[in-house]
């Protein structure tokens, strides 16, 4: 993968990397710069061209971490015939990669890469995982709920889970032997490796060493230090004689740290919380007002009808009265006429 100049990563919200003990988050949150790891933090350089697949590192890891002894002993190299991944009983595994055209076989060791901005830590909803200033990504089983979202999140498929523990399952993964580093010791695997395929030191220095090796032996290595930028960079760095995707290391992960993928939806929270209640109350008010207007119109309509009816009645009454008066007058006139006529007839008679 082409390693271009680091992209300009606008750091939006979300203090990321999920730790309280960090000394820099404020400065980082406010700047446009992307986190490059704690200054002076440690890492390991794994030069796969030097690895002989002896599995001594696996054994040492098992020993210093008190892991259960495996079904087949560590000196049984037939284990390498099948690809393996990390598990609750093995924080690190060495895999063997055959080649087709007479090229040498490659062995590569796999374990937590101790990302600079770990996906697992940003995913943990109870801060059980955090990036330590030594460079190690460490886990606190006393907080873990066992939701396994960290396993979903890890792009390298590293964290494993104690599926057979009914009530106290833990996430299990390499912790860079943080407890040994703090005592001034090397990580178990690095200490044991007979061929210096593993080198421990400050990440910045390791990066330089890696570059120097590539420059010095351009034919031996592909021109890429895996872990320099993958997923925002990792504390473990790798050199390989073959393209990394041929030794089961994904090259399509990109250079953005995982927290960048979720910063968008996280920053939408205040918008929803701030906007919705106002909008909804507004809609409520409008619908209420519409109801009210409708009601008023109904009342008015009724009132006008009543009023109209009244008017009509009045005119009718008036007409009636008129008519009645006229009729009565006519009647009286008639009566008078009749009386006069009668009187006249009497006079005649």
């Amino acid at each position: 993968m082409g390693v271009t100049r680091r992209k300009f990563l606008g750091w939006v919200g979300a203090a990321a990397v999920g730790t309280t003990s960090m000394m820099v988050p404020k400065a980082r949150a406010a700047s446009n710069k992307h986190f490059e790891g704690y200054p002076g933090s440690f890492g390991v350089l794994h030069d796969t061209t030097r690895c002989i697949g002896c599995r001594k590192c696996e054994e040492a890891c098992n020993r210093v971490n008190d892991l259960p002894s495996p079904a087949r002993p560590f000196d049984d190299l037939t284990v390498l015939e099948n690809p393996r991944r990390t598990s609750a009983a093995a924080f690190t595994v060495v895999n063997r990669f055959e080649s087709d055209a007479g090229e040498p076989v490659v062995f590569a060791k796999n374990q937590c890469n101790h990302c600079l901005e770990p996906a697992c830590a940003s995913a943990c909803f109870v801060r059980a995982l955090r990036k330590d200033k030594t460079g190690a990504v460490v886990y606190d089983a006393s907080l873990c709920v066992g939701c396994r979202y960290c396993m979903v999140a890890c792009p390298f498929n590293i964290p494993a889970y104690e599926y057979d523990e009914p009530l106290t399952p833990r996430i299990r993964k390499c912790h860079l032997c943080q407890f040994r580093i703090e005592k001034g010791l090397l990580p178990g695997c690095v200490e044991t490796c007979p061929t210096e395929a593993l080198a421990f030191g400050e990440r910045d220095r390791l990066l330089k060493i890696a570059r120097q090796r590539i420059d010095k032996f351009p034919g031996r290595y592909v021109d890429h230090v895996y872990g320099e930028r993958e997923m925002g960079g990792t504390s473990w760095l790798y050199l390989s004689p073959r393209p990394f995707n041929q030794i089961a290391m994904r090259e399509d992960l990109g250079v953005q740290p995982a927290s960048r993928f979720t910063s968008g939806p996280l920053s939408a929270v205040p918008i929803v919380v701030g906007l919705w209640p106002v909008l909804l109350t507004g809609i409520y008010a409008i619908s209420k007002r519409k109801d009210k207007i409708a009601q008023q119109e109904r009342i008015e309509a009724v009132a006008t009808t009543v009023a109209d009816a009244n008017d009509e009645m009045k005119t009718k009454m008036a007409e009636l009265k008129d008519k009645m008066t006229r009729e009565r007058e006519a009647m009286i006139n008639l009566e008078i006429k009749k009386a006069l006529k009668e009187a006249a007839e009497k006079e005649d008679a």
Partner: protein
Amino acid sequence: MPQETNIPNKSILTPFNVVAGIIILAGLVITVLRFTKGLGAVTNLDDNNPWGIWIGFDLLCGVALAAGGYVTSAACYIFGLKRYHSAVRPAILTAFLGYALVVLALHYDVGRPWRLPYPIFLSPGTTSLLYEVGLCVFLYLAVLFIEYSPAALEWLGLKKVRNLIVRMTLVLTIFGVVLSTLHQSSLGALFMIAPSKLHPLWYSNYLPVYFFISSIFAGLSMVIFEGTLAHRFLHHKMDATHLRESEGVALGFSKAASFVMMGYLSVKLIGISVDNNWHLLFTGWGLWFLLELIGFVALPAFLYSLAVRERNLRWARWAAALSVLGVVLNRLNISVVAFNWYLPSAQRYVPSWMEIGTSIFIVTLGVVIYRFITTRMPIFYEHPDFRHDI
């Protein structure tokens, strides 16, 4: 099936009770296994596939299908569509039960369920979308409980408290919509952290938007779908208002659903264009994706609009069933089927029968409790003492 509720002293060995009893018994056995032997003994989960159907179905589908609660109460109380009032209580009840069961299911899935309050009270991991989901679901469950409580309080005859709560309806509804918007969308955003694992046709920056919009029509469809079942089995519990309004509810919701689904389809198209994933449509995954989108979104949307035009309830019900299936399919695709799509088939996850059994067990629990409540409390009818009092 409905008879036995009419004639209380009849034998309790009705087909419904027998089947439900067997499922619940099996569920209890699996429960014991889960809490004595661990997830490994009961599920097919492994280190590459940490989430199975207990998350994909119980959590994701459970929450989406319980969206009828906020959708219906918003329509009635915020948008002032009073003609849907009789649909509010059943919808709120379903939502409340739905969320309660989601939380119950989580107790099976997470390693140490008693620590579920930790993220909220002890050590909040605010960078995590799961934290947002957890917090909102927790708060919304509380809101739903309060929204549901008037039915129980009327049943118990506690007038004063009931009136107090009814007066808070508007605030509760708004709160419910805010919380639902947040966690419905965040459930989709959960998967945004793993672009390297979810198939690009399903992965999108619009995932939260998809999840939120689809929750709206999931909710609408569930109200129609559940109404159909309720009419068949709980007809005798419905009062005249409910029966009179129910057709209007079904057709009104159908219309809304068809509009929302059309909107959903267009946002999906925008999503494909933005990521320029057109070429992927012609792969096997593309066909599966199109089946989900055309067979279970476009088709029911069309059926819904036909149902509205012809005023045909049957079609509306078919459309509702299809849409519900479509939402289930979508959630399972994202969490299980298209997740880890690149792994060789030997490393892919297929649920164990005990995982499926547990999910069926939990749904059955929901149906039994729903029936218990609707045959006793004023859900499909207005309590005579409180008629027309909101």
